[in-house]
């Protein structure tokens, strides 16, 4: 009972902290100076249509590298925590296995499309990565034997992460800064091969996120 009162007090207290923000909130009419530069720079400097992608992959690239790392850590932590046990497999119908295999290939293709077009359309490495993971989820749920794919997955996860870092390093070697996407010619505005290294980086992000999420799902969904 006392606890309930304290909970109520806590919530009411938080509410009264937030209330002035809601009451006095005054929406900006214009972009901040920083955003203005991003919007302009995305076109002028990076040749990327999607400003959010420019910000994520280039301007705040270090954040994204960190973000991928966070996911990686979660994978490692969950793998560390939930040691896999071998369980007996149910055998699903062949039709289901075949169709889900086919479907998952389609989903993976779609995922690749999303992350390689991150600089042009909404979406990018993370969303594409989730697509890939969901394809594997499909396979997992329909009990397709994933044993073989495990090593490959691990390699994809490790190498895509390492390549991401290496792409960043090239900028450093060329002394134009870590994670600079201008290491590759900027290309023509609006094309798939434009915006410098952004599609490349986003592809690695996509692959890495995809394999990481697959690993998480595998660890948590496995028997």
């Amino acid at each position: 009972m006392i606890k309930k009162i304290f909970v109520a007090l806590a919530i009411f207290g938080l509410f009264s902290i937030f209330l002035p923000i809601m009451i006095n909130f005054d929406f900006h009419q214009n972009l901040s100076e920083l955003s203005t530069q991003y919007v302009k720079g995305s076109v002028e400097d990076l040749n990327s249509q999607n400003v959010v992608t420019s910000v994520i992959v280039t301007y705040r690239g270090l954040d994204t590298l960190g973000e991928v790392t966070v996911l990686f850590l979660a994978t490692a932590g969950i793998g560390f925590l939930l040691k896999k046990r071998k369980g007996k497999k149910r055998v699903a119908s062949e039709l289901l296995q075949t169709s889900s295999s086919f479907l998952s290939v389609v989903i993976i293709m779609f995922g690749i499309f999303i992350f390689s077009h991150g600089h042009l359309t909404p979406g990018g490495g993370f969303q594409g990565g989730v697509m890939i993971a969901s394809a594997f989820l499909l396979l997992m749920l329909s009990d397709v034997n994933l044993e073989l794919n495990h090593t490959i997955l691990q390699f994809i996860e490790s190498l895509s992460g390492a390549f991401y870092v290496v792409v960043g390093l090239i900028g450093l070697v060329l002394t134009i800064g870590f994670l600079n996407s201008k290491i590759i010619p900027l290309g023509e505005y609006g094309n798939l091969f434009s915006a410098g290294a952004i599609p490349l980086i986003y592809s690695f992000v996509g692959l890495k996120v995809g394999s990481e999420l697959t690993n998480i799902l595998d660890a948590m969904g496995g028997d």
Binding site: K4, V7, A10, I11, L14, F15, F18, I21, M22, F25, F27, H28, Q29, N30, L31, S32, L34, S35, T36, Y38, V39, K40, S42, V43, Q49, N50, V51, V52, S54, V55, I56, R60, D63, T64, G66, E67, V70, L71, L73, A74, G77, I78, L81, L82, L120, T121, P122, F126, G190, V209, I216, A219, M220
Partner: protein, 117 residues
């Protein structure tokens, strides 16, 4: 967008309330993810500018005048990161719960109080 802002704060408070009042470990994590969603909505709401479109400068937008046409891209970029991090934390929390459950067969937070004082 003030309504989205209010919605965000409401979800945040509901989530925190859930974290404080629910005994079930999984419910606590659910509440946590609701609070997280609330936070994300707040952030996106802050970045919104009335009557503007997404910051994707394709043919539909006059590039020269783009700065007056699009919403703020920074909050979007931040939220994107935050969502992924939220997933990572949630998944880790849940795997802790699975392990805890293995040890003690209980999902109530009241059953995990051996360490105290």
């Amino acid at each position: 967008m003030i309504f989205a802002l209010i919605l965000g704060f409401a979800l945040l408070l509901i989530g925190i309330y859930g974290m404080l009042s629910q005994r079930n470990l999984i419910k606590i994590v659910i509440s946590f993810s609701i609070a997280d969603t609330g936070t994300h909505i707040i952030i996106v709401a802050i970045g919104y500018l009335r009557g503007r479109t997404a910051p994707i400068l394709d043919k539909a937008i006059d590039i020269a005048n783009a700065t007056h046409k699009v919403v703020d891209p920074i909050p979007s970029a931040l939220v994107l990161t935050a969502i992924v991090i939220g997933l990572a934390v949630t998944a880790l929390m849940l795997s802790f719960i699975i392990e805890l459950y293995k040890k003690k067969k209980s999902l109530s937070i009241d059953d995990y109080q051996e360490l105290k004082w």
